[in-house]
């Protein structure tokens, strides 16, 4: 008990100091607390009266988590969550100690944590989630994560410690994780084929197991002029329509996952759907930002399936604009940029957009575009590249910026200077 109290007090103090020094502080307090009391996560998570929900998978973790938290909030649940980018044990520990009383009692009912696929294996036995949501599994930073089968194995071993799971019916690697406690979300065939799973990158192998009947399914997707979309979702208790501020079919899929999770946690479909409309998009997930009189849309990409989604989004807009793709190869992005060649960049030819490339691997991206038959300028300096893309945009044009993770964090400082990172939910 004394160790736990000490961990909470010292951890928080460290967090306050770190913020005073302007360093954010979503990891260090948790690290320090876990050093003082190694079971800090187990003990604090175990006291939450309504338990812990975990969202994991390659893409869509952040948006799905945020949608689910918004729905639970609307239903009157006091819910805590971790900021994205803090999805390892230390990030979760930080949130838990910040929100607990000094004596280690929770102030909240429930936690919804976004958890890194590889970190889930060790975290699951500690937080014993009542529900694990798995969005999808696609090749991602192979130099860091290793094989996709290994990641699937990590999640499978984590699910042993979970009460139940909500799985993507249309991703064979995720659906294969099912046991007796699993339920599913998905999309109808017409929409599903717009989000091919990893197995289908180079073959047409992937088909949904016909015995699976999803609890929530995307039935219609209609893009809105000003950005965002209207999504139709079928549930066991009837159909709902949701107006989402974020564009792209994959975000409709995230909404299906969040709705499935919310309903499994006792929130009514109508309440959740209404709450989703209030969600402000996380930074880099496709919302519109005003910058120097231009509309700027930032779409984070981390892997080929994410880049394919961005390609699809760029192909679907009515009016061509400026596109800046910023590829960094820092540790957090993955050092290997081979994945650029796995994405269907060829589909961008003939879209009418003008292209530029930036980031530490600006030349690799420009080269990828060249071999897709697309002319592009390149400038490794992100600030200059943003300036160039924005200057090239005419009034009414949209500037689409497609950054990897660390490029997105730099972009935040360029587009929204002075706004602290933790306030933007980057």
């Amino acid at each position: 008990m004394i160790r736990l109290v000490l961990a909470i007090v010292v951890g928080r103090l460290v967090g306050r100091l770190s913020r005073l020094l302007g360093r954010g502080g979503s990891a260090i307090p948790g690290l320090v607390a876990a050093r003082i009391c190694p079971t800090v996560i187990d003990r604090l998570a175990g006291k939450l009266p309504d338990g812990v929900v975990v969202v994991t998978g390659t893409n869509g973790k952040t948006t799905t988590t945020k949608l689910l938290v918004t729905a639970l909030d609307a239903a009157g649940t006091r819910v805590i969550t971790n900021p994205t980018g803090s999805n390892l044990e230390r990030g979760v520990a930080t949130v838990l100690i910040e929100r607990a009383t000094v004596r280690g009692r929770p102030r909240d009912d429930m936690a919804v944590f976004e958890v890194d696929e590889a970190a889930l294996r060790t975290m699951a036995p500690r937080v014993r989630p009542r529900l694990v949501v798995v969005t999808n599994l696609a090749r991602d930073q192979l130099d860091r994560y290793g094989e996709l089968d290994t990641t699937a194995g990590h999640i499978a071993s984590a699910l042993v410690h979970a009460g139940s799971s909500l799985l993507n019916a249309d991703d064979p690697k995720v659906a294969a994780l099912a046991d007796g406690s699993s339920s599913f979300f998905g999309a109808v065939a017409d929409i599903r084929h717009l989000m091919p799973p990893d197995d289908a990158l180079y073959s047409s192998a992937a088909v949904r197991d016909p015995s699976i009947s999803p609890a929530v399914e995307v039935t219609t997707v209609e893009p809105l002029d000003g950005g965002g979309q209207v999504v139709g979702l079928a549930t066991r208790t009837g159909a709902v329509t949701v107006r989402l501020a974020v564009p792209g079919v994959y975000n409709a899929d995230n909404a299906a996952a969040a709705l499935g999770a919310a309903m499994a946690l006792g929130v009514g479909a109508e309440v959740a759907a209404a709450a989703f409309e209030q969600m402000t998009p996380p930074f880099g997930r496709g919302q519109v930002i005003e910058y120097q009189g231009r509309r700027v849309v930032v779409v984070l990409v981390k892997n080929p399936s994410g880049l394919n989604q961005a390609v699809r989004l760029l192909g679907a807009v009515d009016r061509p604009g400026q596109v800046l793709i910023a590829i960094n190869d820092e540790h957090a992005d993955g050092r290997d940029v081979s994945w650029l060649w796995d994405a269907r960049v060829e589909e961008l030819a003939g879209t009418g957009h003008r292209f530029g490339a930036s980031g530490t691997r600006a030349t690799d991206m420009a080269l990828r575009l060249k071999y897709a038959g697309i002319d592009a300028w390149h400038d490794a300096d992100l600030e200059r590249a943003v300036e160039r893309a924005v200057t090239a945009a005419e009034a009414g044009d949209t500037v689409y910026i497609v950054p990897t993770y660390t490029a997105m964090l730099r972009l935040l400082g360029i587009l929204l200077p002075g706004v602290p990172r933790h306030e933007v939910w980057a």
């Binding site: 180079y202 073959s203 081979s338 071999y371």
Partner: protein, 238 residues
């Protein structure tokens, strides 16, 4: 001039590191020079006679896929050996490079049979060799990214693709990277390897045209400034 025929071997199974970029690169560089090209896909179980191919390209894959491919490849061994003797160009990367050696012994002691085009054997290790690689090959520098735990050991007398300047190469010790037998190339370099190494891509194209038409061909030069700049950048990245 009749079209060059590229075969993308095992695209569905062996595609995990962007190796499809090698096919994209060859197609473009042929098209820019007005040389017709046709790409065929050969997957596990597909009947195929390699004598009709000019360039065969194959990539790396996950362990499970590699096991399936190894079994399929054994059945094609005689046809591939004949094609190699005949001068068909092969580019095998990572997982297929390993299977073009005699055998691959995994960390757990499991043995995957290879087809022995290269006088080489691969042994699974516990250390992963990951990072940007620079190799000095007879016809210029090669830059790529490696990610493998298999250590490939060449027999004395087996020609390598080049000397490692930076990175690990075949086994992390010998200073050698890749293997070459006739027109069959093996390498651990992803990246994809060809786009940032246009002289390597052109070497494959030249050999394929010679195989097809029987005499040496001079390729029209292309503007490779961006390709070589990208290689310079990659060579300097951590």
């Amino acid at each position: 001039m009749s079209d060059l025929r590229i075969v993308h071997l095992y695209a569905a199974h062996m595609n995990i590191y962007g190796d499809a970029g090698n096919v994209i690169c060859l197609k473009r560089r042929l098209a820019w020079r007005g040389i017709g090209v046709e790409v065929a896909f050969v997957e596990v179980g597909d009947p195929f006679d390699f004598s009709g191919a000019d360039i065969v390209v194959a990539g790396g894959g996950e362990d499970r896929a590699q096991v399936e491919v190894a079994a399929d490849l054994v059945g094609r061994s005689a046809a591939i050996h004949e094609a190699v003797r005949d001068g068909v160009v092969f580019l095998t990367v990572c997982g297929t490079y390993q299977l073009f050696g005699r055998r691959f012994v995994t960390v757990g002691g499991q043995e995957l049979p290879g087809i022995g085009v290269f006088a080489a054997e691969t042994f699974g290790g516990t250390r992963r060799m990951i990072g940007n690689v620079v190799v000095e090959a007879p016809w210029g520098r090669l830059v790529g990214f490696e990610n493998h735990s298999g250590r490939t050991v060449l027999d004395a007398g087996q020609e390598s693709l080049g000397r490692v300047v930076r990175g690990h190469g075949n086994d992390g010790d010998s200073g050698e990277e890749g293997a070459v037998t006739e027109n069959c190339f093996g390498t651990y370099l992803h990246g994809s390897v060809l786009p940032k190494n246009p002289h390597f891509a052109d070497e494959l194209i030249r050999r394929a045209l010679r195989h097809r038409h029987g005499d040496d061909v001079t390729l029209d030069p292309l503007d490779d400034h961006l390709e070589l700049t990208a290689a310079d950048v990659a060579a300097d990245r951590p």
